[in-house]
């Protein structure tokens, strides 16, 4: 390290360039990831109103996953 506060203007230019490019790249990556998550959440989540339990009339037999021989 040279003398403290002996600013190298070229390095300072580089540092400023790293700063704006770096922040831009990070925000860009995050923005794309954000858009992808929104799409994924839209595509993969089944809306609650579409998830309906089958209508069962009073007295109907209810289908279960258990077989007769299973003791519950």
């Amino acid at each position: 390290m040279n003398a403290i506060l002996a600013i190298d203007t070229q390095n300072l230019k580089y540092a400023l360039e790293i700063t704006w490019k770096g922040m831009l790249a990070i925000f860009l990556v995050m923005a794309i990831i954000y858009a992808v998550i929104l799409i994924l959440n839209k595509v993969t989540v089944i809306p609650a109103e579409k998830v309906k339990a089958p209508f069962v009339k009073a007295g109907d037999k209810i289908k279960t996953v258990f077989k007769k021989k299973d003791k519950v």
């Binding site: 390290m1 600013i7 790293i18 700063t19 770096g22 922040m23 990070i26 993969t44």
Partner: protein
């Protein structure tokens, strides 16, 4: 009986070594008595003593007649960090396997807090240059602000910084000190009224398919924009894919526990190779410790100010609690806990934990992307300079 005093002959013993013993003892004390990042500070502290004994067999020595004898710490450093960056990268598999991105996927707008809280890295690079460091060293010092030890070590190694030891010590020490640094920084730029802002929590349902696709997509996006980040982001997301795929429970558990513990153990003691007295005991080390602290403070303030900026455009009742922005640093889960604690301090019924966790895991992604971006930009500049 002269051979018993070999350590003290011909300049084998330097006063700086005693300073390193004290630093080593201090790190061990902080690890055991204060429980500050003990898994890393203890091996680093012990390693600092081990490597700084005169004619230490743990370091590579040149002996008369025999020639060079490779020491275990130097060997571990050469193969585990110097030649391949294997240790920090492999550690990311374990970290990825530990992270649940569910809260973030359920509330993705908090991703941007992770990006904003990386500002400390870049402001610190500018200040490091002002203090006279070369651009490679300045970038390596700035990355302390990623609040992510393995990323700091990896970037410092790739950019061939001679200050890697100081950078690693600063990164891990300040990560451990997040519960002290962040409240101070946050209170500096927020009012009690702002800290009391409540945020609704209505988590969306996140499917397993989303959790599986997410790590693959993030790797591809980060890789296309910052190709140098692929190793970092890729290993993190690989670990997360193992966790979320649902068919590799054993591997996931191994990555989270055995692999992460083993690499942490080796990384801690190996980093001591860069803590040799002749390099470490200098004014630059003090300056790096100061710049590292500055980076953490600016990260926290940057996150808070970004949340405040967004609040200017949001209606009442939809505003962010600005403290959540500070959780965008990578120190997980300490930072989220700090925000929850500060939220409860301002209003005992205000729970911010889930929002803070979302911002905190986004910080994990943003910090490795920041490391990758720096590795994409800086080597070209070093080539020119």
């Amino acid at each position: 009986m002269d051979f018993l005093l070999e350590s003290f002959k011909d300049g084998n013993f330097q006063w700086q070594m005693i300073v390193m013993w004290v630093i080593g003892a201090l790190l061990i004390y902080l690890a055991i008595a204060k429980k500050l990042e003990p898994a890393l500070l203890l091996p680093m502290g012990f390693g600092a003593i081990l490597i700084n004994l005169p004619l230490s067999g743990a370091a590579t020595q040149t002996l008369p007649v025999i020639g060079e004898v490779v020491g275990i710490i130097d060997w571990l450093f050469d193969i585990g960090i110097g030649a391949s960056e294997a240790f920090p990268l492999l550690l990311f598999i374990g970290i990825g396997a530990m992270i649940d991105f569910g809260p973030l996927l359920s509330n993705p707008k908090l991703l941007f807090f992770g990006a904003a809280a990386q500002i400390g890295i870049f402001i610190t690079i500018i200040f490091a240059v002002i203090f006279g460091f070369g651009i490679g060293d300045a970038a390596s010092i700035g990355i302390i602000g990623a609040a992510d030890g393995p990323t700091s070590i990896l970037v410092a190694n790739v950019l061939r910084s001679e200050y890697m030891g100081a950078i690693a010590v600063a990164a891990y020490s300040y990560m451990a000190l997040v519960p002290i640094i962040q409240p101070m920084a946050i209170k500096l730029v927020t009012t009690k009224k702002e800290r009391m802002i409540r945020m609704d929590y209505n988590p969306q349902q996140v499917t397993r398919l989303t959790k599986i696709i997410f790590p693959i997509v993030v790797t591809v996006i980060a890789g296309l924009i910052a190709p140098a980040s692929v190793a970092l982001v890729g290993m993190l997301m690989f670990g997360n894919l193992i966790r979320e795929c649902g068919v590799l429970e054993n591997l996931s558990e191994t990555a989270q526990k055995t692999l992460a513990n083993l690499i942490t153990l080796l990384l801690g003691i190996t980093i001591a190779a860069s803590m040799k007295a002749e390099n470490f005991v200098s004014w630059e080390t003090m300056l790096i410790m100061g710049l590292g602290l500055f980076a953490f403070v600016i990260d926290s303030i940057g996150g808070v100010m970004f949340a405040k900026f967004l609040n200017l455009f949001l209606p009442k009742g939809k505003k962010f609690n600005p403290m959540v922005g500070a959780a965008g640093i990578s120190a997980f889960p300490m930072s989220a806990r700090v925000i929850q604690k500060l939220g409860l301090e301002a209003d005992p019924s205000n729970h911010l934990l889930m929002h803070a966790v979302s911002a905190n895991v986004s910080g994990q992604i943003a910090s490795v992307v920041a490391g990758g971006v720096i590795l994409s930009i800086v080597p070209a500049m070093l080539g020119v300079g």
